[in-house]
Symmetry: C2
Subunit: 421 residues, 2 copies
């Protein structure tokens, strides 16, 4: 009785009902991105500990599940600190592995390379409702494409996916880190203050314009800068007009093509979109990670408080690993959140097969059994899901159980009726 029945802390056993939705969503993700020319890739779940601790992962690096050295390399009694006994760790995201993968295999990969990576990641976070220490991530990246075609295709593909999963009325908010910086520069903030200003700006949806103003002033920034800055947000509209306004107003502070490129992305997505959503220019969108260099975007859904996905351009990150900059844009989809939303709304997988069960009486003779096996074979070949199961004493309860599992057609099979089946 050495077995512990519960999974390890913070990780979970997937029950059949949830798995049915997960499998369906995974299938839709693969099918949709494939139609846009993305290729599936996979990297090992274990990475070199040096790669995981290379400062690309921010706070996630504190949450790594570390793997013990093996064999002669492990000298526990001499060990003073963690790094003496560890040589690997479970990946905490898919970005570090993607960078390593690209660095390792770029010669064999097409350019641009459109990658779809789905896989579990692990973070030793404090366990809490709805957050687990092992969870699925789904990342889509286009490597090697400097133009905004990459952003356009990523957004079109991802919104098409969400549409297929019956999500409607969601919003893609989009911005560009260059506009973010130009607005700060135009207002007179010092470059060294940008990141801190953006952290405060990021609270806009919680504390509003006045709250942001107050906090900026509390942080000691010049009142003139703060007023000039906030005036911009009052004037900029959430559409292509807003983008054009930025282009004009921020002249001299903003790269020539930045606003035009953003406008092109918004116009293209609106023109060629498949799903029912709207696209908003949001000059207050910041996105935490400082590695973004250009476009940033996020999906918001009213029925779910937060974001269900987001990403942006990070042209300088792969270069940090390989020594050679590679243009890159990525989108990370909140797989677990999407599955949770579908489960909560009692989503029925549309591709679910018709389910039929044969209940076999224990006195069924051999010939009867062979007949039923062949009936099942024929129905399975037609796409039905067929369960053959021995009849229990409590047949009523057994049938209720089967109906709960979705078996709408249940056939009692006895020696004396098997001929008529």
């Amino acid at each position: 009785m050495a077995l512990k029945k519960k999974p390890v802390t913070g990780m979970k056993d997937m029950m059949p009902a949830e798995m049915e939705i997960r499998d369906y969503v995974i299938g839709q993700i693969k099918e949709t991105y494939r139609a846009f020319g993305f290729s599936s890739i996979e990297t090992p779940c274990v990475e070199h500990i040096e790669n995981l601790c290379s400062k690309q992962g921010g706070d996630n690096e504190k949450l790594i599940f570390k793997i013990l050295k093996r064999g002669e390399k492990l000298k526990i009694e001499e060990a003073k600190e963690e790094k003496d006994v560890v040589d690997g760790g479970l990946r905490y995201d898919l970005t570090v592995p993607l960078s390593r993968y690209y660095a390792n295999n770029a010669n064999e990969l097409p350019s641009p390379f459109k990658a779809l990576q789905m896989g579990n990641v692990w973070r030793a976070d404090r366990p809490q409702r709805g957050r687990f220490r092992q969870f699925m991530q789904c990342d889509i990246d286009i490597l090697g494409e400097p133009g905004n075609l990459a952003e356009i295709e990523l957004i079109l593909a991802t919104t098409t996916l969400l549409g297929k999963l019956d999500f409607k009325n969601f919003t893609i908010r989009i911005n560009d880190r260059r506009i973010l910086k130009a607005m700060a520069a135009y207002s007179g903030f010092a470059e060294s203050d940008y990141e801190n200003v953006f952290i405060i700006l990021d609270k806009m949806d919680k504390i509003g314009l006045d709250g942001v103003a107050a906090e900026l002033e509390e942080n000691g920034y010049a009142k003139g800068s703060v007023e000039k800055y906030l005036q911009l947000f009052k004037e900029i509209t959430n559409d292509v007009e807003g983008v054009r306004y930025c282009k004009e107003k921020l002249e001299g502070f903003l790269a020539d093509d930045a606003a035009a490129s953003l406008e092109m992305i918004i116009t293209s997505v609106e023109s060629a979109k498949e799903a029912d959503f709207c696209m908003k220019f949001d000059p207050t969108l910041v996105r935490g990670m400082s590695y973004y260099t250009g476009t940033i975007f996020e999906i918001s859904m009213d029925e779910f408080g937060g974001s269900v996905g987001g990403g942006g351009r990070y042209d300088e990150m792969i270069g940090k690993f390989t020594g050679q900059n590679t243009p890159a844009v990525g989108f990370s989809i909140g797989f677990e959140r999407i599955v949770m939303l579908l489960l909560e709304r009692g989503y029925q997988v549309p591709t679910a097969a018709q389910k039929k069960a044969f209940l076999i009486d224990k006195k069924m003779p051999k010939e009867g059994m062979l007949k039923i096996l062949n009936l099942a074979k024929a129905e399975r070949a037609l796409g039905k899901q067929v369960m053959i199961v021995n009849m229990k004493k409590n047949k009523k309860f057994q049938k209720e159980q089967l109906m709960e599992q979705g078996y709408t057609e249940i056939v009692d099979c006895y020696a004396d009726n098997v001929e008529q089946l």
Copy 2:
């Protein structure tokens, strides 16, 4: 430049061509077993170290990737041995996790429970060609069904799967641990010698009848027993006649229903099979793990030396964990071997979409781009895989690359021809 480009020792980056086959095989597995009423489940990749070291895993327990304790629980400087610093490990198979899963969730699961579990497992084996330290396992189990309907459905489902993957002319060898034991008992071996006798018998395909005889005698077993034993193997045929012969000859040594049940399995599978294979009674089939209690089976394929899958009945294993015996039969499919065989024979995924690429000249005006995006949208909706990509200076090389990726239709798009597309 802290990044190590190579994956950790013994693990591998999956390239797009292999992933296409893997994704296809995974899809076929899920679809096929679903048609037979199996439900997908998933367990965490990390298990309690106590569960992994509970003596169910045989030699695999020596190969565990162990996970370091975290936070205050970790006291490296005081640690004397591994167990002081470790609280989890990566699973080395899917059987231990299935047992834990069933123990943890039996109340919420139907009975019988037909489970399909696919997932990575890890073993710190010495790296060698074609064997990796992270690999996918695929297990199918029926828990709670004591009758041979479980074996019949497992074998039918698995062979149907192999048929869908274009495998032909393979063989299912089948035996029953009870027949194995009855033959040894009939021949006069002591019960305590059975396991050793079976280890020698297991070499039959390598060293032949005479080799087995010689080795049994070398091990000191009575000449009379050895002769009586080997005479049996000469007389038993590899079909249901052989099973009937066993029933008759081994009377008094073999449970009444054992031979009849095996005969029923063979007859049923032959009658209702979908794929092109043959079923052989093989009284020399042993299967290593001693936890098997009844039927055992293995898939052999001529084009691949060894087995590509196997399993059997293990009615007493879950009871060791839960304290309550649960009838169980399982099949483990050699997922990695199947993928390797398909890759080697240059298998073309039959569901692959038609692939079309639009090459966009850099002077394409906005209106042209919108037109192309909408053309692509229409073709994607029809199931085509459409790549939109900026034209490179070396267009010829770019096209060759695209053709290598399977893009059979490539359209050059310029400002002056976009109207005609």
